[in-house]
Amino acid sequence: METELDDRVRHVAGVLAEHTQIPPLAEVESRQRRRRTRHAAGAAVATVAVIAAASVLGWRIDRSPSSTAGTPAGSPGATSRSAVAFEVGYMPSHYQLVSVEQGPPNVFVELTKRYAVDGDPRRGVIEISVEYGKVAAPRAYAAVNGQLHEVDINGRQGVAGWNTGRPGDGLQLVYTVPRPNLAIAIDSQGADINEADLLRVAASVRPATTGPVPAQAIVPTTIGETLANARLELSRAGLTVGHLSYEFSNSNPPGVVAAQSPSPGASLKTGAAVNLVITRSS
């Protein structure tokens, strides 16, 4: 059956390919030229905005070529930050910390590098906030290595975030295990991002904890939390999610933690895993 189904897929693909007209190469080049023009205009506006925003916030702009990331005066190396402000309709070009790409109504914020603080990737917390007017309840998607996952605001794949839903509060996402090519897309479906609205995107990398990493971590309680919230709670405590198992439950809603091991209050080595039992609807 696998072969038969695969054969049918291949056959249909062959017919589809056979009847696909290839647009002239000039069309591809022309599309690329249009995008380059938008890039250039957007980059100019955004660069000015980044410098202005950084100055207001007291961030020192790194003078190295093609860099728009800054570090806060007085704590060099501890934190890096970049901020981008741009008008919808312009597409800012590549930035050191984040790149922003938008084709209304979506905005994509992409972390372009792997970040670790003090050489320990577990300690790096990347916070991205996006603020814009008129947006009541943006949805968020996170993509790791290009694959999109709906965050449901609460997070998956090591991404956690929240959104108050209040206009102007924007979206906060905390990413605790830095990986390259994390992209966060803020989808305006149902919200209202218009041409020429001003968007501000700020991303910062900071230590997850101040001071030395404690050797021991106290297991927090995650029972009753969604998996995403449990992951966030555990990462805040310096722990990770271990083995996941599932059980049917009529008393609890599906997708929440029904049990955990070790129990809350236990002391574990920092970075240790906590196994969770997640409810599943019968």
């Binding site: 189904l5 062959g14 190469l25 989808d187």
Partner: protein, 172 residues
């Protein structure tokens, strides 16, 4: 061979196949063509780098696929608000296998569709699909199994319905 010739070769060789693959995933040839054109246009802008890749077509496929998924997610909410009327997009010439296959593929979750098409068309193993889609190999095996079971069941149902309908027509 200069850069433009290289790109042109990759484009002409890869475009029809990519459109076919994206059409199978999205169910819409228009969306597939748009995503493919946009991806090739982005590739042309970075051909200095991409031209040195072993398989630049893989980059194009990844970008096109992401564009398609992004578009699909944008549309998903809007579609939820509409009456659920299955609309089949005709292709020219009409192809009975396509008419059978499209609703079946459409009934599968997007990730299962993507995995199935990558396995069937690109000949990817579960491990290779896992890398492409950034999930665990076991997840891919599970998706492929579920997709194939669902597709088999849906195709059998369609075949029975067609046979029954033919019998009734012949009976008249």
């Amino acid at each position: 061979m200069n850069q433009q010739q290289e790109f042109s070769d990759v484009y002409r060789r890869g475009y029809p196949r990519l459109v076919a693959e994206l059409t199978l995933i999205s169910g819409s040839r228009a969306a597939a063509e748009e995503a493919a054109q946009e991806a090739y246009s982005r590739a042309w802008g970075r051909w200095d780098t991409l031209g040195r890749y072993d398989d630049p077509q893989a980059w194009v496929r990844r970008v096109a696929s992401n564009l398609l998924v992004s578009r699909w997610r944008r549309l998903r909410s809007a579609l939820r608000m509409r009456p659920l009327v299955a609309t089949l997009e005709a292709i020219d010439p009409p192809e009975s296998d396509w008419l059978d296959l499209q609703p079946v593929l459409r009934s599968l979750p997007l990730v299962q569709r993507q995995a199935l098409v990558l396995a069937a068309l690109e000949g990817f193993t579960a491990d290779e699909i896992a890398v492409e889609m950034n999930v665990a190999p076991a997840t891919v095996r599970s998706w492929l199994h579920r997709a194939r079971v669902s597709a088999r069941s849906a195709l059998e149902t369609r075949a029975h319905a067609t046979a029954a309908s033919k019998e009734m027509t012949d009976g008249d």
